[in-house]
Symmetry: C2
Subunit: 327 residues, 2 copies
Amino acid sequence: MKAWSIKKPGGRDVLQQIDVLKPVPKQGELLIEVKAAGINRTDTLTRQNETLAASYPILGVEISGVVVENQSTDPKLNAGTRVCGLVNHGGYGEYAIMPADRAMILPDELSFSEGAAIPEVFLTAYQTIYWLGELDKKEKILIHAAGSGVGTAAIQLARQLSQANIFATAGKTEKLNMARTLGANVTVNYKEESFSERVNTVTDGTGVDVILDFVGASYWEMNMASCAVDARWILIGTLGGSEVANVSLNHLMKKRIALKATLLTPRSDEYKARLSQEFAEMAMPLFQEKKLKPVIHKVLPFAELKEAHRIIENDENIGKIILKVSE
Amino acid sequence: MKAWSIKKPGGRDVLQQIDVLKPVPKQGELLIEVKAAGINRTDTLTRQNETLAASYPILGVEISGVVVENQSTDPKLNAGTRVCGLVNHGGYGEYAIMPADRAMILPDELSFSEGAAIPEVFLTAYQTIYWLGELDKKEKILIHAAGSGVGTAAIQLARQLSQANIFATAGKTEKLNMARTLGANVTVNYKEESFSERVNTVTDGTGVDVILDFVGASYWEMNMASCAVDARWILIGTLGGSEVANVSLNHLMKKRIALKATLLTPRSDEYKARLSQEFAEMAMPLFQEKKLKPVIHKVLPFAELKEAHRIIENDENIGKIILKVSE
């Protein structure tokens, strides 16, 4: 089968198509004919990871496709079933292995490209908003990087599952327009105004209950100033740097802030399975009803992976970049 | 009735005995004849709080005593019942008001002095270890200030309720001896060695799952180095300063650390009621069986409140200072 791996760790030029044997599923696993794969920043980081040892893996952590072989005991996942979900590498290939307990059945209403656009960003958004952020109905949430894959997913989940009061930040008008379309109540162009001042004006100084923070150091003081008492501040990226000078623990204590740092990809198989199952139950029906929708920036042919990585690395996309693996 | 208040905010000399009317309980409250009151650092902070407006309150946030009047619908709390629990000020007086839903029935096996030594430190320890720290059976916990009231309570709870692997730090041999007696597995004199090196040696570099941190800035790097992946780091004091010169968010993310800052006293009545009820159910039977015991440094007569504050402020105590209010 055809697949994308790397010659060695490095820039986009190290990406190479290879020909390898189909993988063989073990007990509890599915063999899937991959139809589409999502492109993620974690893939570009893996591509550059100098500590990676040969033989290098097939890249890609999320796919959609059709089950070819079901080595689990779940008859709902028999051959022919349309599924999507996270894989442990191996997504950019014509066939991939997925642990059966994290497969999510893809409703007929959704295309394979849409299915491949769901797992990583919606599961990350769900995990950070609900498992870590513990967002309660009608609470206030501040979502940064509103145009990103996780940002667009988070706005939709907070709107549809929680009727939250949503503050969204981004640096481009088109991203802010998209955020409002998806359900954000208040949008802030961070290049033009201070989001913490806006949050405090709109909330009469009471602040937000949850922050999804992809930015880190450069937003530290403004995030702190935006927190309500008992806020949950979820740190899932450091696009604005990771070194913070002069942190006041008293500020954290006065507001009883919980600062929770997280990543999804390195978590255990068991964690991803529990998360996928809960998400499928809570959110998949809303995709069928079109209340939730994957936001897709562009679908590219299998041969154009380097271009897909370029778009992600240049932050040109609003929503997901999808690699079409087969018809 | 006799009670202790202040002339104005300030040092120990501002403490003054006053004569006031007995308080009158409202619906849902108990009037309690106070037998003993616990002395807490929060009382000394209230005493010094320049933002406090006259008329100044009766100090004291925890008591034991006998119900005189039950204005709740709970017949288990009728007049004559021995109770202990948190009060919203008013503890250093011959009578006090307590919301009925946070009263904990005091078993006959415990004296009133012991009863007054339970609420603040054991509820704080329970809240931080279980509600925020989510300590699981047989996990590893690092407890600083092992000789403090909360420290001695935390060691006992982690031992009796969770069979945890307990690391305890203090700066005096007698405090470390007490910690081992109460159930600590590993004790570290922070004046003599690095606790993070000890933690990493004993755990083969895997670190601890929960930290109870009363220290803050001066322990920042060592606490970070002591955390396991997915650690819960509970910040409940800043005895070692509150300004951290440099924080690396990457360190937090790599270990997926949840840093949760908290205080008990400013929390809502509803929170204190829920906490008291859960604690009474989980832990009070263990006091009856003598598996848990309040650690009392000294019981002082009602007249000697200034001495009680002196001991607390000079950090001379191992365990609680109790004010005997009536026989």
